[in-house]
Every structure is written in structure tokens, then in C-alpha cells.
Amino acid sequence: MRYARVIVAGNTWTGVQHPDGIVLEDGRIFREAEVSWLPPVAPRTIIAVGLNYADHAKELAFQPQGAPLVFLKGPRSVAGHRAATERPRDATYMHYECELAVVIGRTAKAVPAAQALDYVGGYMVANDYAVRDYLENYYRPNLRPKNRDGATLLGPWLVPASEVPDPQALEIRTLVNGKVTQVGHTRDMIHSVARLIEYLSAFMTLSPDDVILTGTPDGICNVVAGDEVITEIVGVGRLCNFLVDGPSNPAFGADFQREVS
């Protein structure tokens, strides 16, 4: 059973996947485009892992150290299936990142990797966009490229952990306007889901509805307003997003740089 939260005629409903789309708790069936999709869970803390695939790390000239590269995101960054995401007009390179999202199911503190998957409530597909023009080398990846409103998509479904016996055995792919641009597999993660939970829970208590975005494989590319981007993890879901034109970020630093140098 795959669960979703949707808005129908102004009300929020829980539904489950149906061959024709989604069936609500009251039995009504809708096609995907007939409802507004919320993220399947309202995340508490959003933890993202960067450069967690050997091939992608190589692509970005990253030397994986011992510890995962971890950063956090705020709640306004998330949106659901079929959302429209703004692409700032001044961006020269904005790319998707198809990622397996792990939803924590129960409080986890100092959990060893061997038991870590017992703490997973479920999985979702994530598309964690980045605007590379906005990267700076302070607390990188910084919040400017990675915490934009509605640029972290989650969904369509929350798939219970019981239906994903091995999170390291999942195929990943992204399609831009129907053409496959990214192909990967979760077995290529540098730090597995279990290892990430072990690592994180050793220094911060994880709680139900905390979400861990586990990184993206090789195959990122620039996308533009008008594109349809589908990030898919086989067995978890197929998450659709539409890019629309958005305002440029202000040019920071002109006056500010003079002050600090």
C-alpha cells in the first residue's frame, strides 16, 4: 500500500495508490492530475546528504572523506508531486537530483547500522534541485542554492518500509521531457541508508517524520523553464515536477564586499 496526502476541493485527504490514480479514504477515485499533491509527510528535520554516490562525487571532483557530507533544509523548501518549481531567471545552471528519501519511523539515538533499518518508517522519491550559480564555499552546499522555496519535491507516495526490504537494491532514473538523462542504482551509495542512520543518530537524536535525502547518482544536467522533470525510483514512485520562470536573486555583495575586504 502506498500512501499520499492530497487536496481535493479545498480539503486535505489521505489516499492510497490505485491503478487509475489515487483512491481517497471515502472511496472516491481520482486521476493524478485531478488532485493537488502534498508531500506525503510534513517533515520535521530535513537532512540531506551530498556527494553520496561514487560516480556523482567524481563528476563534481569530490574526494569522499570518512564522514558523509550532511546539510539541513527548512520546511518551506518542500513541495509535492506535480508542483511547479521556480527557476530563477539569472541561473545559468539549475539541476535536478533524484534521491531516495528515508522517513524515520521511531526515535533513533545511537543506533548501530545492523539495526538501523528497523527505525525507518518508509521511503519516498525526492527531487532536490540546486542552483549551482548560487553556491558559495561557506558551509557548502549553502542554503542559497539548496533551500529555495518549493525546490525540494517529495512524493508522490510514502511507501512503508515493509514494502522495501532492501533500500540498496533500487533503480534510479530521471527523465527530462520524456528523455532519460540520469540512470543509477542505490547499491552505489557511498554511505548506505543504514550507515547514514548510524552516523547521524550517533550525534543527533532522530525522530518520527525526520527525512533523510540520501544523495543523487551521476547524470545531472541543466534544466530550464518549461521542462517536465520526472524523478523515479523503481518500486517507490515516479515524481513529476514542472519548471516555471521565476525572479532572479538579488546580486549580493556589491556594497557588502567593500565593507569586509
Partner: protein
């Protein structure tokens, strides 16, 4: 005290912190700002998040991990949002604030700002949040708010908001250009430079003029817990 109300206990949404927002902290990096890995001084505000597992209140113990000698107790003014703020100007941001409170932004000391340093900033109980909220108009000026930190009764840190790189209104406007700040969010304006390092057994007390104080004992983590 006029303009002071209890802070709604459950009102906290996201706590954003700002690093390198005191001139002294930024200047301490010196020529390194233009060298690898940074390459250039920061342009946008240098932000981080203090997640829910870090939140605690006045009087709650700060827990020092077993593998760490001491932690930094950083006094900071915290702006509390009353309304959502997106792409606001310096002239209008203050209208969106419920007011200010005091926060002890606890950190494992680090001089490397290249990676997000979650292990240093996001341990359990690493963010003590004050219980009072003081309206913006209760402060005669936002550019000269004084703050102090005492450890075991000894004054260890004195700072004022005059030392900020981005003054409060400018900082909030610049953050709101990046993403929406939501009602209930806290923005930690910046931990004071030269924040004292405290260790188990210490008692840290901090005060911001016009807001009040925050006091937290420092204890060692139980053995076997990092």
C-alpha cells in the same frame, strides 16, 4: 517589563543561524577568506539550521559530548517572526517580527567553515531558547544592544550589535531574498565573537539588555553516548 510577553512554547518552527556575522569573527579569518577553499569572502548570509533536537529552555543542561573537551556558549539575539517574510526590504522587515529573544547557540568550536559542520552545531540540546519575547519598539536602537556572558560568575564576553557585519534589518531582508521565513521562525542574528568555551561542571549565564537572562548548567554526556 513593558513589551515583554511569554514566548509561545509550541510556536517555534525553524531556527536559522547566521555564521560570520560579526566583523571580528569574519576578520579573524583574515587572508584565508580569499584563499582555498573559500576563494572569496562570503556574499550571501552564511546560514545554518538548528534542528528540533537541539532546542531546550532556560535552566536545561548543556550536554558536552564525551569526545569533546568543551563547547562554545554563544550569546545571540534571536529575531522571532510573526508573519511570513519573502523578498522584503530592510525598511519593512521589522514589521514582520513578533520581537526578540535570547538564545545560547552552543557549538563545538571550529575554524573551518567550508562544510556545513552539522556534527559541531546540531547535537542534542545545542540551542537554549529564552522564555521572553520583547517587542521591537521596546528597544531604543537595534544597533547598540548589549550582551554579556558569565561563566561561573566571571564575565567572559561582552558584545553589542554595533559589531554586526549585516545589521539586523539588512540581514533579515537578505535572508528573505533567498527563501521564505515563516511565522514562528527564529533567526539567530549571530553568536558573539570570542564566545567562551565551557566544560562539564560550569554554569553559563548570559544576558541581553532589554530582554533578560538565560542560564544553563554544563554537564558531561553519559558514558557511551557521544
Amino acid at each position: 517589563m513593558d513589551g515583554v510577553t511569554p514566548r509561545p512554547a509550541a510556536g517555534c518552527n525553524t531556527v536559522y543561524g547566521v555564521a560570520l556575522n560579526y566583523r571580528a569573527t569574519l576578520d579573524a579569518l583574515g587572508p584565508a577568506l580569499n584563499e582555498k577553499p573559500y576563494g572569496a569572502p562570503p556574499k550571501a548570509p552564511v546560514l545554518y539550521i538548528k534542528p528540533a533536537n537541539t532546542w531546550m529552555g532556560d535552566g536545561d543542561p548543556i550536554i558536552v559530548p564525551t569526545d569533546i573537551a568543551g563547547v562554545q556558549a554563544g550569546v545571540t539575539l534571536a529575531a522571532v517572526l510573526q508573519r511570513d517574510l519573502y523578498q522584503a526590504t530592510s525598511e519593512t522587515v521589522l514589521d514582520a517580527l513578533a520581537g526578540f529573544t535570547i538564545v545560547n547557540d552552543v557549538t563545538i568550536p571550529h575554524s573551518d567553515f567550508f562544510r556545513p559542520m552539522i556534527q559541531n552545531r546540531c547535537r542534542d540540546r545545542f540551542c537554549a531558547i529564552g522564555a521572553t519575547l520583547v517587542r521591537v519598539d521596546a528597544f531604543p536602537s537595534l544597533d547598540s544592544i548589549e550582551m554579556r556572558v558569565w561563566v561561573n560568575g566571571q564575565l567572559r564576553c561582552t558584545e553589542t550589535t554595533a559589531g554586526l557585519v549585516r545589521p539586523i534589518a539588512r540581514l533579515l531582508a537578505d535572508i528573505s531574498a533567498l527563501f521564505t521565513l515563516s511565522a514562528g521562525d527564529l533567526v539567530l542574528i549571530g553568536a558573539a565573537p570570542n564566545s567562551p568555551v565551557v566544560k562539564p561542571g560550569d554554569e553559563v549565564r548570559m544576558e541581553i539588555a532589554g530582554i533578560g537572562s538565560l542560564q544553563n548548567p554544563v554537564v558531561a554526556a553519559a558514558v557511551g553516548v557521544q
